[in-house]
């Protein structure tokens, strides 16, 4: 066990709540798990030095922090500062409840193989349980804010259940003010015919360490539309699991990462087609500049019984410098015979015809190249279903992109 981990879990004793049994189980698992090294497949390209070196601490007192404004949206805010829940929405719409109590779902959707997920099981003190009642469709967007003050360590956990026919929009938003360390995990049960629109914004660049995951279980005819947008940092790792537990469910996952400097961003997306007739579409696009490193692992596991599965995984990457690195690995494991499954991972090149077309309108070659590179990720921003979120994040990404140098 690493020194960091030993230190961190010592803190677990102070947590007293209804999740004690599950925490004890996770702690036992964690104690038995080998600390990842370069030989650990899931961490091959992502060294944990930044975790071990982190001096972020559990703070007794935290400053007041408020999340960023998004024009045109009035969120239902669930705000954590340094791992403590500091605010809940005051007036909840009918059919939406948020409670801090036991939940049978806690630790049942997130697979136990995620080592920092286990850390989070043990250390997330204020587990929030969100429920949308049957057939209730919530218009407002629920935003889960994970805010960290300089020097702080924080661990947050939210469990969300959409009952049959329900609909909800959830934004996971992380903001780090300085050198911080966090684990942030969410578990979603999307009931029969329910619809979840999900966003995970991991735009905290700089010297912080962020480990987390969004894990989804879909029952029959459930639908998921998820967008993950990340910048790199000292270490940024997101694991996502999409698990089909009922037929005719559909999930779409779009992810964008944009890295500069010496940043690291690692996305592991795992899809379990355990039942027939489900559909997955994944579009993953990244741009890496300078000496940054992106890691993408996209696993699609089509179980023996999962006939008539449609699964598509597309990963395209653009390298802006020859010192930047992208490690991409699609992993298809197909045990059913009647499925359609396509995948592709490419280092993208600028479309020459498009470049010429722009130049014939008077746009300089270099500006045309920038427009097309940005367009490459902007295409996925265009697909975000809530326009206010797209309009909010677009200029943030554009600015970051504009600062990146082509070398």
């Amino acid at each position: 066990m690493s020194e960091w981990l030993q230190h961190a879990i010592a803190h677990a004793d102070s947590i007293q709540d209804g999740f004690a049994d599950q925490r004890a189980t996770s702690l036992a698992l964690l104690t038995d798990t080998k600390w990842p090294s370069r030989k650990t497949e899931a961490w091959k390209y992502t060294p944990l030095r930044a975790v071990e070196r982190s001096s972020a601490v559990f703070k007794e007192e935290s400053p007041e922090l408020t999340p960023v404004d998004v024009e045109g949206l009035d969120f239902l805010e669930l705000t954590f500062v340094d791992g403590q829940l500091v605010s809940m929405p005051e007036d909840l719409p009918e059919g939406l409840t948020i409670e801090m109590q036991e939940s049978d779902l806690f630790t049942t959707i997130k697979p136990a193989r995620h080592i920092f997920g286990l850390v989070n099981d043990v250390l997330a003190a204020d587990v929030a349980v969100v429920t949308v009642a049957e057939n209730v469709k919530i218009d407002s967007v629920l935003r889960i804010n994970n805010l960290l003050s300089n020097g702080a360590q924080g661990h947050i956990r939210v469990v969300v259940e959409l009952e049959a026919g329900a609909a909800l929009k959830v934004v996971e938003n992380a903001e780090a003010h300085g050198a911080t360390l966090t684990t942030a995990y969410t578990e979603f049960l999307i009931g029969a015919g329910a619809h979840l629109e999900h966003y995970r914004f991991a735009l905290q660049s700089g010297d912080n360490v962020a480990l987390g995951g969004s894990h989804f279980k879909l029952l029959g005819k459930a639908t998921l539309n998820s967008s993950i947008i990340g910048f790199g940092s000292d270490l940024q790792r997101i694991d996502t699991d999409i698990i089909y537990a009922g037929e005719k469910a559909e999930a779409k996952l779009n992810a964008i990462y944009l890295l500069d400097g010496t940043e690291l961003f690692d996305l592991h997306a795992n899809v379990e087609h355990a039942v027939p007739n489900c559909t997955t579409e994944e579009n993953i696009r990244g741009i890496a500049g300078d000496r940054s490193r992106a890691v993408f692992n996209g696993r699609i596991h089509i179980h023996r019984d999962a006939q008539k599965t449609l699964a598509e995984l597309n990963n395209r990457n653009l390298l802006l410098s020859d010192k930047a690195e992208i490690n991409t690995k699609p992993e298809l494991e197909i045990y059913a015979d009647d499925v359609r499954c396509a995948h592709g991972a490419t280092i993208a090149e600028i479309d020459k015809k498009a470049l010429y077309y722009l130049q014939t309108r008077g746009v300089s070659r270099s500006q045309a190249q920038l427009m097309l590179s940005f367009g490459f990720i902007n295409e996925l921003i265009d697909q975000m279903p809530t326009a206010e979120l797209a309009e909010w994040v677009r200029p943030i990404i554009r600015d970051r992109f504009a600062q990146m140098e082509v070398k």
Partner: protein, 261 residues
């Protein structure tokens, strides 16, 4: 400048694509304000002419010259030619998802204004112009928000080309089969767009297979391009003749590899 009163001057132009000679001694002079129609069989080199003049990669000039307003076109980058006033409306406009049409148009106009030493337009000023141009070519304003040509129908793409021409105000417009695949209404929209831009300064090369477009856009000259050079020139009545007779009278013996094409 060799000839004071010539906007575009192409002299004995030979050009090739992938080692294959396509243009084989093309000559053409266009004066300000003139409209020249170019007709001719498929594969004659009509599109190639537009690509060579605009500077597309892979289109090699083997010999000959082309000047726009006395400036050597082949000495300029693609974008410089555009800024010098050359505009090509593509036979097959390119789709660019992720780049909005509005941004594309604004950056294009800004680049050209900047090159002329003019100030950039504010977003509001430009939006107003763009909306007017949309109306003029009968495209819903919502098309400004979409990706460049993304998911546009054939006719919408062609109208988008004309909209760009209206906004960029070039000196020489080459319209490459802008009427192909358009129904009569759409063709009229295109023709009206072109006619609205005609004046004593601006010149046009209209590449088309159909006489009907030339009923709306009256050409000063009609040329027949065949096997890489102009084989016949005349006034508007030549287009009518061609429509009636086709190109059989050309009587060029096809070479082996042209038969393969």
């Amino acid at each position: 400048m060799s000839n004071e009163n010539v906007l575009l001057s192409i002299k004995d132009l030979h050009a090739s694509v992938e080692e294959k000679n396509i243009l084989k001694g093309l000559n053409l002079d266009i004066k300000p304000g003139e409209v020249h129609a170019i007709m001719g069989p498929n594969g004659a080199g009509k599109s190639t002419t537009g690509y060579v003049l605009s500077g597309r990669d892979g289109y090699e000039v083997d010999s000959g010259s082309a000047t726009l307003d006395g400036q050597d076109l082949f000495d300029m980058d693609v974008e410089e030619r555009a800024r010098a006033g050359l505009f090509l409306a593509f036979q097959y406009p390119v789709e660019i998802p992720g780049v909005s049409n509005l941004e594309f148009l604004k950056v294009s106009v800004d680049s050209q204004r900047e090159a002329r030493g003019e100030e950039a337009l504010t977003s509001a000023e430009f939006l107003k112009l763009a909306k007017e141009a949309c109306k003029q070519v009968n495209l819903p304003v919502s098309f400004l928000k979409r990706g460049v040509n993304e998911g546009f129908s054939g006719g919408e793409k062609k109208r988008n080309e004309i909209m760009q021409m209206i906004l960029l105000k070039p000196k020489l417009c080459i319209l490459d089969e802008t009427d192909s695949g358009l129904d009569i209404d759409a063709m009229q929209v295109v023709a009206n767009g072109v006619n609205s831009q005609r004046d004593s300064e601006r010149s046009f090369i209209v590449v088309t297979h159909y006489q009907r477009l030339l009923d709306y856009i009256k050409p000063d000259f009609v040329h027949v391009l065949a096997d890489g050079k102009i084989v016949k020139s005349g006034d508007a009545s030549l287009a009518k003749e061609l429509e009636a007779q086709g190109y059989a009278w050309l009587q060029t013996e096809p070479t082996e590899d042209e038969i393969e094409d």
